[in-house]
């Protein structure tokens, strides 16, 4: 340890708290312990969680429904194009 480090040890030696500090902390702890602390009822938190999960589930199901509907419509469009082609081909052969 060099001279600067020794000086730092001296300069940063522990300082005691002001007189009466411990008593003030104990008094404040007592005051805070006596104060009513408002807490959310547990059933409210549980209900909020259920609503959140149910809402998310419903939203997901709706989204899945939209995706399925879009797929069916796409399949119909492809089928329609194929039927038109076959119809045209049949007409040409019939002539």
């Amino acid at each position: 340890m060099d001279w600067l480090e020794q000086e730092l040890k001296t300069a940063l030696s522990r300082e005691g708290p002001p007189a009466g500090f411990a008593e003030r902390v104990i008094r404040e702890a007592g005051l805070r312990a006596g104060r009513p602390v408002y807490r959310w009822p547990r059933w409210l938190a549980a209900a909020a969680a259920v609503v959140l999960v149910a809402g998310a589930g419903l939203g997901y199901r709706e989204y899945q429904g939209e995706v399925a509907k879009e797929r069916v419509m796409h399949a119909f469009r492809i089928a329609s194009v194929q039927i038109n082609r076959i119809q045209t081909h049949v007409r040409e052969v019939a002539r």
């Binding site: 600067l4 000086e7 522990r14 300082e15 002001p18 003030r24």
Partner: protein, 154 residues
Amino acid sequence: MVFSVCWHFLHDREQAEDVAQEVFLGLHRNLESIQSAAHACHWLRKVAVQRSIDAGRRLRRRPQVALAEVAEPAAETAVRDPLLGETLRRLIATLPETPRSVMILRYQEDLDPAEIGQVLEMPVATVKSHLQRSLALLREKLARRGVREERWIG
């Protein structure tokens, strides 16, 4: 220990007292999570540093102790200049938060770099780097003020 960490960090007795009080009240609230005396000591150090950093940010303390305001030790002072301690404390108060915390834990609490790393949740190499850089910076600032090893030796 707690008040001293806050005081060396904030360089303001009133604020240090408030922060130290909050730290002890925090300990009181979290007593059930404390497993041993050593754990309590570690918890107190860690929270004292964190709360001091928060308080320093809130109060924007750092600009209030500008390097220019640090008193220069008189030219013809004796060995173990009493002003040097105050100069060092003020110079430390001008360091950024992390190196300041590292220096306080190293020289006030006498923790080794590994222990400081645990308290501040940083790698040992980073702690060592902060220590080296801070010491180099302090040496430079002191040299600029005419304080050198030779003078200290007398």
